[in-house]
Amino acid sequence: MFDDFFTRALIAGIGISLVTGPLGCFVVWRRLSFFAGTLAHSALLGVTMALFFEINIAFSVFVISAVLAILLLQLQKKTKLPNDALLGLLAHASLAVGLVVIGFLTSIRFDVMALLFGDILAVNQNDLLVIWIGGGLILIILKLIWKPLFASTVNYELSEAEGMKPDKFNAIFTILTAALIAISIKIVGLLLITGMLIIPAATARNVSNNPKQMVIFSVIFGLISVLVGLFTSLKINSASGPSIITATLLLFILSLIKFKKVSDLKK
């Protein structure tokens, strides 16, 4: 019934949304949405580096994001600038450098639009492997570090005092976020990946009263958005990445109505 490319798009989208759900919850809880956005912006530089040195795109994006994360930590220690200024600095500086480098890549045909907004319909089998194996690894690690990571999310000092080693697990979490951006950049694009992380989690918050529930709901909302977005994109011939994010927005609006009802009941 479906063309082969569409089946691949579905499998890729489902794989991504399984990972963005739980990771997105932590991004929202830890107030890291701007941080995730910064890592995503640096992906442009990662992609151009990959083309320049002819290495794997996901790998290159991952390395650049990780370097950026370390750079941020150093800047936080060395300067007195507030966090949002530092993040803005890194996000746009890396974006600008990436765009400058693109200018030199005249010999390579390069679709900037696909990079910004994703091209889920051009996913090949290799991409599927990267998404499912990489995504699987991210989920397994997240499951293993759940307890200390969650404890440090609730209260850093408490978790440090009680031997949960928050610094270590915060660093692992940063690496996981960089890895997720690396594997999903081709699908949702660097401008929209933050939306995929945050909007389903924010939607889930409106209908949950405990952390595990919020994770489950954000996975479900992510899945629904991918399915609705992709089928819409096929039907009305809209761009796939933006269609998915628009679907997450619709779910968020629906959840507000439900949320309002619940809070009315509580009164």
């Binding site: 929202v28 809880w29 107030r31 307890k147 969650f150 404890a151 999310t153 609730v154 209260n155 000092e157 408490l158 978790s159 440090e160 005092a161 009680e162 031997g163 949960m164 918050r205 949950s208 009263n209 405990n210 952390p211 529930q213 919020m214």
Partner: protein, 250 residues
């Protein structure tokens, strides 16, 4: 419990901590043994919480040495805020750093009088309720070392006494060492084994009876503070008389 009473749980040796070149504490030493309650007192900004955080290893860049001889630690921080974005119930919070059985959670919440709040959202609790949950969480994991930073702030008067009694009882029952930070000189002087009076550095320290007679203590807290012990002992003799006649706060 026989000989174990002497085992040292925590040792801070000449610890100093600087923030932006300003010394928050200077050359503070302390030691906590099993079954012992050590209390830090001192005016605001005297470095009580800082000392506790150094003892716990939260502040690592210090001069001096900190040795902890146990990993079973329960901590009640001075301030915990939980963001609305994080949906978390009391029951989820209870097993934050350790997996607990339902029974253990119930018992601990019952001890601090908040078992009815088990399924409530943390963000919906009142200040006093939240403190009780914090204490319950810290004791539920049966720690060997308990660090309590103003544990009863915002708790009503009756609850305050009950909670201090509970803390005393726990130190005996679990034979754990307790580092307590409190402004309630009344309680400190009656329920503590060892008092350390801080004002950036250790002003004076020793058994409560010794400290209240110390000149530096009197300088720091005023002459009236020395009467705390006699007031308390008086009250203790007539434990059923009304509290109204004694006002330690003035």
């Amino acid at each position: 419990m026989e000989n174990k009473n002497n085992q040292i749980l925590l040792k801070v040796e000449n610890a100093s901590f600087y923030l932006n070149d300003k010394a928050l504490i200077k050359e503070v030493s302390l030691e906590i043994k099993q079954g012992e309650i050590v209390t830090l007192i001192g005016p605001n900004g005297s470095g009580k919480s800082t000392t506790a955080k150094i003892a716990l290893g939260i502040y690592k860049k210090i001069e001096g040495r900190v040795k902890r001889f146990t990993e079973r630690i329960g901590y009640v921080p001075q301030k915990v805020t939980v963001d609305w974005t994080l949906p978390i119930r009391v029951i989820d919070f209870m097993s934050l750093t350790e997996d607990l059985k339902n029974d253990q959670i119930n018992v601990a919440l019952n001890l601090t009088g908040v078992d009815h709040l088990k399924n409530k959202s943390l963000s919906n609790l009142s200040g006093g309720e939240f403190q009780r949950v914090l204490i319950a969480r810290a004791i539920a994991k049966k720690p060997e070392l308990l660090v309590l930073d103003e544990p009863v702030q915002g708790v009503d008067f009756k609850g305050e006494i009950a909670l201090y009694e509970l803390i005393k009882k726990i130190s005996e029952k679990l034979n754990c060492g307790i580092l307590l930070i409190s402004h309630d000189l009344h309680v400190v002087m009656s329920a503590t084994d060892f008092v350390i009076c801080l004002n950036g550095h250790v002003c004076c320290s020793g058994k409560p009876q010794t400290v209240v007679q110390d000149k530096k203590y009197k300088e720091l807290f005023g002459d009236r503070a020395s009467n705390i012990l006699s007031l308390y002992e008086h009250e203790h003799d007539h434990s059923h008389s009304a509290d109204g006649s004694i006002d330690p706060k003035k």
